[in-house]
């Protein structure tokens, strides 16, 4: 048991290290560096020599490997550096924004569930009916409409015209409603269609007919037999998009002035705030790893045959 844990841990560590190495190289390959931002050339008089000196001082002229080595040394000491633009420790900054992002993500996922589950299943069960058509239309519009538009419309509707839901900031539950709704609706479309497609497959399986022959209610067949059989593709796509959901909600964070991680990172990228980007990628790598490992485990739960085959392979 201990050995397995150790192995897993090593695996994760190597994975993270590799990701960090690649991202380190990658980010530094991007044109531009943070010196101009640090020196605030937009407002302060700076000479070229000063820029060069700064570059030298910050080590951006060193060979990349040496830079990475320095970073690695700090990394091992769990020192992730400080943001160039605010001077704040990177991890602290990111972790402070993380709860807001997590809230928003969960809110959006909840909305997604509330939309995609009923819509997806109804359109599969009543294939070809009006509800199927409706759900298709909704999901297509959802896929084609940019979220800023959706967000503005929601603000206009629920913030200005009817009702007075807060449209800005992060003050308790009410302020979470509109952003979650926007984001949730925006991501639902794929799940609606995917769930429908997958359910159609499941519902035509032989075991569904057997369940019917046993007199089980359609509801029961749906929830306990067909749905579970349909989940793997849905969960897979979910796992894949969670990463981009966390980092890619900038538009919504900006629109609703929601202090999440996405905005932080986009700014960091613009300013080439290397430590912050690096810290973000580290967090994302962990999140992505955890989520997708969980997704892989869920396959095993959903399909015991896979689990047992695996066991056998390990013997």
């Amino acid at each position: 048991m201990f050995r397995i844990l150790l192995r897993k841990f090593l695996e994760v560590f190597v994975f993270l290290l590799f990701i960090m190495f690649v991202s380190f190289l990658f980010i530094r390959l991007a044109p531009g560096d943070p010196v101009l931002t640090i020196l605030n050339v937009d407002e302060l008089s700076v000479s070229r020599e000063q820029v060069e000196a700064m570059r030298e001082e910050m080590g951006f002229n060193d060979p990349l490997l040496i830079q990475f080595g320095n970073w690695l040394l700090d990394f091992v000491r769990l020192d992730f550096g400080s943001s160039y633009s605010t001077g704040q420790p990177v991890m602290q900054t990111l972790l402070r924004a993380l709860p807001a992002t997590a809230e928003l993500t969960f809110g959006a996922l909840l909305v997604m569930l509330l939309v995609a589950l009923p819509l997806g299943s109804l359109s599969a069960v009543y294939r070809g009916s009006w509800i199927d058509t409706l759900s298709r239309m909704l999901s297509i519009v959802g896929a084609a409409v940019p979220s800023f538009w959706l967000g503005l419309i929601l603000i206009d509707l629920f913030g200005v015209r009817f009702g007075s839901l807060p449209t800005m900031g992060r003050d308790g539950f009410a302020s979470l409603i509109l952003p979650s709704l926007t984001l949730g609706l925006a991501i639902s479309s794929v799940y609606v269609r995917l769930l429908r497609s997958s359910l159609l497959d499941s519902l035509s399986q032989e075991f569904v007919r057997s369940a019917r022959a046993r007199g089980l209610s359609e509801e029961r067949i749906f929830w306990l037999h067909a749905l579970r059989h349909s989940l793997p593709p849905v969960i897979t796509v979910f796992g894949v998009s969670l990463g981009s959901l966390i980092g890619g909600v900038v538009v919504i964070e900006v629109l609703f002035a929601y202090p999440g991680i996405g905005k932080l990172v986009v700014d960091a990228i613009r300013q080439r705030d290397y430590p912050l980007i690096q810290g973000y990628i580290l967090i994302m790598a962990v999140v992505v790893f955890v989520v997708n490992t969980a997704v892989d485990l869920s396959y095993r739960y959903l399909n015991p045959e896979m689990k047992l085959k695996e066991k056998e392979a390990h013997r």
């Binding site: 032989e206 047992l308 066991k311 056998e312 013997r315």
Partner: protein, 262 residues
Amino acid sequence: MNREYTAESPVIAVDGLVRTYAGADRPAVNGVSFAIGRGECLGLVGESGCGKSTLARCLLRIEDADSGSILLGDTDIARLNGRKLRPHRRRIQIVFQNPTAALNPKLKVADSLIDPYEQLGRDAKLSHFAYTSRYAYIRRLLEAVELPAELAGRYPHELSGGQRQRATIARAIGIEPDVVVLDEPTASLDVISQGAVLDLLTRLRTSLGLSYLFISHDLAAVHRMSQRIMVMRGGEIVDRFGADDLFAEERQPYTRELISIF
């Protein structure tokens, strides 16, 4: 190897095959040895759950045996893998017990049927199912198992149980392999079709020199098809004899029970 198990110039010789499933307390196949000669049909009977299908799967390397050897000609395929195994695939084919699961539900019957030929049969000189065109070949296969040619264009779920079973038989014999493992090949056929299929199998065996491992619950069919018969119980071979001795008095009590009920 015990003299009794061997055949003259065996095409396939199995020795000490053991297979234990994960989580099972005892092996599903436990030290099974036998050999089949060219043109011979070896019958395998035994009660449900005694390990016949497991044995068949091991022979085909669909499942990995824990120990034991499978000599196909003079190569032990029990430990071969991947690319190394592929050349030997041509020589052994299987008909699965459950034909529904053995056909890809998303492929038309014709597409499933052509698989072995396309991958394994091209270089072989087929005498009975000689390939002239895809259409002719599939037609011939279907004819051989008494299926109308129109079924080629259907999906498996549009076939009856017996039709599916015949399709899988057709697929297995289409490239005229050396050994065919038949796991209850005729269980869901009506007696007329069953007779026809068994006749065909016998004809192919004698004319092409195929060897069969014929797994069946139908003692009449086993008796009719096989030269030798093995009885399996709890993963082990408990009795073996020539087909003519099926009714001999010295048979094991278990064998006698099987016969008597039949």
